[in-house]
């Protein structure tokens, strides 16, 4: 899967008569990491949800490889290309970590159980594969969701506050993983209140200044 550039074309978002941002234009090349920053309520999550395809923009367009992701073939293609992990980790308490991951991955492409176990080991959940997730802590549940980053093949990652509730070592491991993904030519768009200044080559989009 060869990653293509993502292009935002004067994107606008309006929520309940309040304009969050307008005429947001941006070109993202494969291999870039974009941190969307801004104060609370500046529309970070809304932007990510628009990019993921959950929320229609009030104006403007977004293109992946030159094709609009909001209609027709472009939309179908975009669904295969981007991985979105939102605020809510989509982890079911009644299911085990392994069952959760098997289902979440199957939503795009089924994966083998060995791979799931490897991924769980990489996010530090070895030995918790068969534990129902309601017995895990918030940070561990978040790790289950983030294990998808080690399993799925999508070139574009859209991550909303991935570091929430994760400890320092976990954050460092994830940062490395994100940089590796970018180095392979992938694209990462993320929000976080955790500073990423120490990482090389991270672009920052401050929504507080765009609006």
């Amino acid at each position: 899967m060869k990653p293509l550039p993502v292009e935002l074309d004067s994107l606008a978002c309006e929520r309940d008569q309040r304009e969050l941002f307008a005429s947001l234009s941006l070109q993202l090349e494969p291999g870039e990491v974009l941190q969307v920053a801004g104060p609370n309520g500046s529309g970070k999550t809304s932007l990510l949800r628009i990019m993921a395809g959950l929320l229609p923009p009030s104006a403007g367009d977004m293109r992946y490889g030159g094709e609009s992701v909001f209609s027709g073939v472009g939309r179908e293609n975009w669904r295969q290309q981007r991985l979105y992990i939102g605020h809510a980790p989509a982890v079911k308490g009644a299911l085990t970590a392994e069952e959760n991951l098997a289902w979440l991955c199957a939503l795009s492409r089924p994966v083998a159980n060995d791979h799931i176990w490897q991924a769980l080991e990489q996010v530090g959940l070895r030995g918790f594969e068969d534990v129902p997730c309601h017995n895990l802590s918030a940070g561990q549940q978040r790790r289950v969701a983030l294990a998808r980053l080690y399993l799925e093949q999508h070139p574009v990652w859209i991550l909303d506050e991935p570091f929430t509730a994760i400890d320092k070592a976990g954050v460092a491991a994830l940062e490395t993983h994100i940089l590796q993904h970018a180095a392979r030519g992938g694209l990462v768009i993320m929000t976080t209140h955790h500073g990423l200044e120490h990482l090389p080559g991270v672009r920052c989009l401050d929504l507080g200044q765009v609006g």
Partner: protein, 223 residues
């Protein structure tokens, strides 16, 4: 495509059996509502027999609605629904599987239980197969239509009463056909026509309702 249907079915199955209480509640509610009527109107068998089809159908309507209220809510709250909407697989197909699974766990059990309550309400033995058949054809419609309402109210905290307000008027044709078939059976008249009509509506609901449910969920998720 077949694989995702199967995996989804397994997921729903596991989720259901790990919280068996949720499965039982609608059935107990169904039994309770049916048992209230003899207490309210008296145990006179002829009166009970005349009322039985209506009582059982109204109880089935209400039990289905109650059980559907939370159908999508937990998936909505923990973010699973977002992942469903974003998936390349057709959302309408996935919700159809989910609703049919839910029907197997609640509607089908009601179909199996209903003849027992028919007996308790003094229905003659010969009419019980008709009761089971009409419920078998009718309850999937109730589940599918109710799921449309559940999808439209998914983001709301107090969905229950609103769901009933939205969906009960749409249940009226099923109620009329179901009780009509029972009345016909009690009078010794043929019921094939009723069964065919119910079958028609079931096919219509199977084809159109998933589209409306999917549209409702997309709207709910975009909030």
């Amino acid at each position: 495509m077949r694989q995702i249907v199967w995996l989804l079915f397994c997921r729903e199955w596991r989720l259901a059996w790990r919280r068996p209480g949720d499965l039982l509640n609608p059935l107990v509610f169904f039994a309770l509502v049916v048992s209230l009527f003899p207490l309210a109107v008296g145990p006179e068998p002829s009166m009970l027999r005349a009322m039985a089809p209506g009582v059982i159908w109204v109880a089935a309507l209400l039990a289905t609605l109650l059980s559907l209220d939370g159908l999508f809510r937990s998936d909505y709250e923990d973010g699973s629904l977002e992942q469903w909407v974003l998936s390349p697989h057709p959302l309408a197909l996935m919700v159809l599987v989910k609703v049919l699974h839910h029907w197997m766990m609640s509607g089908l059990a009601m179909v199996l239980l209903a003849p027992l309550f028919g007996l308790m309400l003094a229905l003659p033995l010969s009419s019980l197969p008709v009761l089971a058949l009409t419920l078998l054809l009718g309850t999937p419609i109730l589940s599918l239509l109710g799921a449309v309402g559940a999808a439209l109210t998914v983001g709301l905290k107090s969905g229950g009463v609103l769901l009933a307000l939205l969906i009960l008027p749409l249940y009226i044709p099923v109620l009329i056909l179901g009780t009509g078939a029972m009345d016909a059976a009690l009078q010794g008249m043929p019921v094939t026509g009723f069964a065919l009509w119910l079958g028609c509506l079931a096919v219509l609901a199977l084809t159109l309702a998933p589209i409306a449910i999917a549209a409702g969920l997309r709207i709910g998720v975009s909030e």
